[in-house]
């Protein structure tokens, strides 16, 4: 796992987990019609999705969309009201101890005593995962990996927001996980720190780890995720590979030298064009032939086009379209 385990115990020959043996077609996380209720409030409403080894799956959604409740059920911190969840083939509640040995968790915030020093906490967590293992994560390697070498003896309360996040990531790696849940890992982290965290996440996925990334930061998610699950109001609105989700929302950008009078347009064009600003228009999910018809119509009226650009929507475009704009 990341970093490669180095410690041998009592000279026992070690069984290094080989991720090349992992079946990447079989989902390692299966959420099947999961519901979570708090009294009368339905926080998660019969959601289903899956995630695979070697991929980063981004779980996106506005506040209160049901992301955290869903992930906490997967982590075994919360019970499902109905439905089923299997993580690495295990039930997160009934098989919690076994799953905890294979799982890394990064909380959005906190989780560490303020007077504790990074090196001590990482050593503690490496020890917590030590039972029955012939190899441990090396605390010093983890500290070095997340770039806290110079700050390893500084109490947690004196670390910056980004340093706290990186320490939290190091704790999530202490289990040498096969699946890792990261909640807002780049929140409050500076540009260099973000790059470090992105590299670590990508390397984890490349090593065969299943990475579940819950975040509000859509541009960060777009840079590293392979699959996307978008939540809103307790439901999954869309699930798929990043490209599939973006392709499903093809956009056209049109800029003209003078404003268009949309009322003059034929019905087959007018309904698709959205005026974002004067002389600046967009078309979402354009059907085949629409762009050609639009070009002919503009040409017939002698309206010069400054820019006509087609392409996949950004993740942010897709997200805003699906959730009504709140991220």
């Amino acid at each position: 796992m990341l970093p490669a385990p180095t410690t041998k115990v009592k000279g026992v020959s070690v069984d290094v987990p080989s991720f090349s043996r992992i079946n990447r077609d079989e989902p390692t996380l299966v959420v099947d019609h999961l519901s979570v209720r708090y009294g009368d409030l339905v926080a998660v409403d019969a959601v289903s999705f899956s995630a695979h080894a070697g991929q980063v799956t981004a779980v996106l959604g506005p506040n209160g969309a049901g992301k955290t409740s869903t992930i906490e059920v997967c982590e075994g911190l919360r019970r499902a009201s109905s439905g089923h969840v299997r993580v690495l083939g295990l039930d997160p509640t009934k098989d919690h101890r076994a799953l905890a040995n294979e799982m890394g968790v990064m909380l959005q915030e906190g989780g560490i005593y303020p007077s504790a020093r990074p090196i001590d906490v990482v050593r503690q967590y490496c020890g917590l995962y030590g039972s029955g293992k012939t190899q441990f994560a090396d605390p010093q390697e983890l500290i070095d990996l997340v770039g806290l070498t110079e700050r390893q003896k500084t109490s947690w309360r004196r670390l910056s927001g980004g340093e706290k996040q990186r320490l939290s990531l190091a704790l999530a790696l202490a289990s040498q996980p096969r699946i890792i849940f990261l909640d807002e890992p780049t929140s409050g982290v500076d540009v260099n720190g973000r790059s470090t965290i992105r590299d670590i996440i990508r390397r984890l996925a490349d090593q065969g780890v299943t990475v579940i990334l819950a975040t509000h930061e859509l541009d960060e998610a777009e840079k590293i995720c392979d699959r996307v699950v978008i939540f809103d109001k307790g439901k999954v609105l869309v699930e798929g590979t990043l490209d599939d989700v973006r392709k499903a929302r093809r956009t056209v950008r049109l800029r003209t030298v003078r404003p268009l009078i949309l009322d003059d347009m034929p019905d087959n064009l007018a309904g698709w064009l959205v005026e974002d600003a004067p002389c600046d228009y967009s078309i979402e999910d354009a059907p085949q032939g629409l762009i050609a018809a639009l070009a002919v119509w503009l040409s017939e009226r002698g309206i010069d086009v400054v820019e006509l650009r087609t392409g996949m929507a950004s993740l942010e475009d897709v997200f805003k379209k699906l959730t009504g704009g709140e991220s």
Partner: protein
């Protein structure tokens, strides 16, 4: 770098490191009891009613120290661990609640050994005569009192917000210090207050310790029963009401 292969040892080591880094905990559990023992031991201002005021004071201060480590120190630390989501974070590791609790208990026991190793020699230096002490009975009293106070501390810590818990634990510490029969004798308190104080774990622990250490308890049988009841009820109450987040 050396890493413990036992989750329990890893957690115990972390608990001890946190304890050592919290100066206010050491103040509460070690410095205040030693200062009270030295002050009242050298001034003889307490109306103890005992021939040798150290016979009254030594068991009372030991009871106070046990209360501070078992209830206040444990309760405050646990309350903040809930607030800082330390318990939530540990909940997704293979540690498990039994080993977490075991690490807490061992930490408290180790702290109490340190307390006794310091307080008893200080008392002896202040001319306390330990000749009548029944040490096994005293250890039994300390163990029972620890269970009762730990249950009370965890009950409070498991229900209240961290800041409210901090105030409640410290307030209760002061209240029991003054009215709990540890430093001020029951017969010097107003009768209604004394009647309530005799039913508190602090008064009961001080009384059974006076029975064990100097053979001068006011009502040892009743105090053992009172302390035993507290030692059964408070852990059950804590276990049934504790909120991990």
């Amino acid at each position: 770098m050396k890493v413990s292969s036992s989750p329990f040892r890893a957690q115990l080591r972390a608990e001890l490191q946190i304890l050592a880094r919290n100066g206010e905990q050491l103040l509460l559990t070690l410095i205040i009891p030693v200062m009270l023992l030295v002050f009242f031991g050298t001034t003889d201002v307490l109306p103890t009613g005992f021939d040798d005021h150290m016979d009254f004071l030594t068991p009372g201060i030991i009871a106070l120290a046990i209360m501070s480590s078992s209830m206040v120190s444990l309760g405050i630390a646990t309350g903040f661990e809930r607030s800082y989501k330390v318990l939530k974070r540990l909940g997704v590791t293979p540690l498990g609640r039994p080993r977490w609790l075991a690490a807490k208990i061992v930490t408290v026991l180790l702290m109490q050994i340190v307390q006794l190793v310091i307080l008893i020699p200080v008392a002896l230096l202040l001319d306390w005569n330990s000749g009548k002490a029944q040490w096994l009975l005293a250890i039994g009293a300390v163990a029972t009192g620890s269970i009762a106070f730990a249950g009370l501390g965890l009950f409070i810590a498991g229900r209240l917000r961290a800041e409210v818990n901090l105030a409640a634990q410290n307030g209760l510490y002061l209240l029991l210090l003054l009215l709990g029969g540890m430093v001020v004798p029951f017969d010097k308190l107003p009768a209604p207050v004394a009647a309530v104080a005799k039913c508190l774990p602090s008064g009961a622990l001080a009384d059974v310790l006076r029975d064990a250490l100097v053979g001068q308890a006011e009502r040892p049988g009743t105090s053992w029963i009172v302390l035993g009841i507290w030692a059964v009820i408070t852990p059950l109450l804590a276990a049934s009401t504790f909120r991990w987040e």
